[in-house]
Each structure stands twice: as structure tokens, then as C-alpha cells.
């Protein structure tokens, strides 16, 4: 059974995908985020809206399709998240 993921973990997964899958520098589409994020379409669109609103993701409208890129603020959050994940893991816990 897959372990339960918290909302923060899902957000970190989305940001990680936006960071790591952005090979060409023009952002990643919602299909990639859905495939890697492993959440439903309706939940993903809501989460992306929240993340764009919070300034963690940047929305790029290229060729009439929305693509997303991690922002500086998103990178900062992700870095903090990974550090605290490592800290919690030291004590045998999951974030």
C-alpha cells in the first residue's frame, strides 16, 4: 500500500516535477504534473491555482496552452521542505 501523502507533500511533489521536468525552460504542462503528481484533474487544477496565487508557481501562456514553471519563492519553499524532510527522516518520521 502506498504511504499516505499530506497536502504539503503533494505540493512539494508538484514543485519538484515543475523543477525537474522543465528541460527546455518553457515550463511543464498540466499533463506532466498530473502524471507525476498522482492526483485527480480537479484537485490538480485547484492546487495549481493556489500555488500560482501564492507565487510558488509561474503560469506561462505559450501557444494558448498554460505551462508552469517553479518561481524563486517556490524554489525557496522546496529547499526548506527537503531540508525538513531530511531532518524528520533522521528521527524515522515522514513529513
Amino acid at each position: 500500500m502506498a504511504p499516505y501523502r499530506t497536502q504539503t507533500k503533494i505540493i512539494a511533489d508538484i514543485l519538484l516535477t515543475a523543477r525537474d521536468m522543465n528541460m527546455e525552460g518553457d515550463g511543464v504542462g498540466i499533463t506532466t504534473l498530473l502524471r507525476k503528481g498522482n492526483v485527480s484533474y480537479s484537485r490538480m487544477t485547484k492546487l495549481i491555482g493556489d500555488l500560482v496565487g501564492a507565487g510558488l508557481l509561474l503560469e506561462l501562456n505559450l501557444d494558448k496552452t498554460a505551462k508552469y514553471k517553479i518561481s524563486e519563492k517556490g524554489m525557496s519553499f522546496l529547499q526548506a521542505y527537503l531540508q525538513f524532510e531530511d531532518f524528520a527522516q533522521s528521527f524515522g518520521l515522514r513529513l
Partner: protein, 224 residues
């Protein structure tokens, strides 16, 4: 003979002094872990880190009260003579609560399973045949640390993070120190051994805080 006895008495008093000083070191380590955990709660809103922070706040306060009790009983800290028993019991209750939260974090992480059932089955053997409140609280603390050790080792088998193994070994040393102090506290040599075990165990628990402090580069201060 008298000189040997006097020297032994001095050594024993020195050990008691060292043991009480160790409580303050324990409080420092516990509060440091609690602060880092609380920063984590602010940044990531993680409930695991909140439980970890709560556990170490309880542990730190417990260590602090026990240290004050120890120095008060040696008349190093004046003014605490009247409330010494209250200090000791409060310290032990808080420490037990801290170890409970530490074990409780793991319980919520893995949910109730066979391991928990096996550990619970061992508990009455240790706790029921003890008399005083002090021994019961100490036994409970020992039990919770042991549960923490088992769960941390299981976590290591999942994540293979060397720091997890380090924390498991630190907790094991503290647990072994507790066990020695429970069953053979009167021997001078064993007292030194158990003191060293607790000291090294605490230093090991401090390593993730040091690692975190030295690698912290993010400017994120949360909340999300």
C-alpha cells in the same frame, strides 16, 4: 580503609554532580531539536514535526526540572529545598510525556500494527511489579524509548538514511543507560557506564540539528 571509603564517597558525589549537569546538557539538546522542529512546523505545517517539537519541549522541560532538583538536593541551588519532591515528580512526568510523544509520532506514522501489539504485550511485565511513582515513570520512559528505537530501526529499513540509523543508535544508548540505572544504579562502575551511554546518546541526537544548521540555505520562513 577510611581514606578509600572517603575517596569513593567523593567519587560518588562527583558522579551525582555530573549526572545533574548532564540533565542541563539534555535540556539544551532537547530544546535545540524542538526549535528546529518548530521551524519545520512553521515552514511545512507538518503534524509529524509538531509532535516531535512537543516531545522535545516536554523532554527539555523535564530535564531542566530534574537538573534543578539535582542541584537543589546537593544544596548547589538554594531555595528549592521545600519543593524538591514536586520538582522531581514534575520533571519525571514531563520526561515520560516527552518519550510518549516521541513514540506516539511513530504510532501515528505506522498506525496500529503487529509491532505495536508486541511492544504493548511486554509493557505490563515491566511496569506493574514496580512500587514507587518514580520507578513507574522511569519504567514507562524506558518502554517509550525502546518503542522509539524499534520504530526508528524499522524506518531505517525503509528509507536507508544513515542519520536514521544514527538516531536509532543514540536512542538505544540512552535506553541502555536507563536500563542500567533501573537495575544496577548502586555500583560505581555501572553508574559511570550508564552516564557515558546517556551522554553519548544525547550527543548523537544533536547531530541532525548540527547537520540542519550547517546545511540550511533556504530563505523560506513559511507558512505555506
Amino acid at each position: 580503609m577510611r581514606i578509600v571509603g572517603f575517596r569513593r564517597g567523593m567519587a560518588a558525589q562527583g558522579l551525582v554532580l555530573l549526572e545533574n549537569a548532564l540533565q542541563f546538557v539534555g535540556a539544551f539538546v532537547a530544546f535545540s531539536i524542538a526549535i528546529v522542529s518548530y521551524k519545520g512546523v512553521r515552514s511545512t505545517q507538518s503534524s509529524s514535526l509538531l509532535r516531535l517539537a512537543a516531545a522535545f519541549v516536554f523532554l527539555g522541560t523535564g530535564f531542566l526540572l530534574e537538573g534543578i532538583y539535582g542541584f537543589g538536593s546537593l544544596s548547589i541551588l538554594p531555595g528549592f529545598e521545600v519543593s524538591l519532591t514536586t520538582l522531581l515528580i514534575s520533571g519525571l512526568v514531563l520526561e515520560t510525556a516527552g518519550y510518549f510523544f516521541l513514540a506516539f509520532s511513530h504510532v501515528l506514522d505506522v498506525m496500529f500494527d503487529k509491532r505495536m501489539a508486541i511492544m504493548l504485550a511486554f509493557f505490563p511485565l515491566m511496569a506493574i511489579n514496580q512500587g514507587s511513582l518514580e520507578v513507574i515513570l522511569t519504567s514507562l520512559s524506558f518502554y517509550f524509548i525502546m518503542y522509539g528505537v524499534v520504530e526508528t530501526l524499522f524506518a531505517y529499513s525503509r528509507n536507508r538514511n544513515p542519520n536514521t540509523l544514527l538516531i536509532a543508535s543514540g536512542l538505544s544508548l540512552i535506553a541502555a543507560g536507563w536500563w542500567i540505572s533501573l537495575v544496577a544504579a548502586d555500583t560505581l562502575l555501572l553508574s559511570i557506564v550508564q552516564l557515558l551511554m546517556k551522554e553519548v546518546g544525547l550527543v548523537i541526537l544533536f547531530i541532525p540539528v548540527l547537520t540542519f544548521s550547517f546545511t540550511k540555505k533556504s530563505g523560506w520562513n513559511g507558512p505555506l
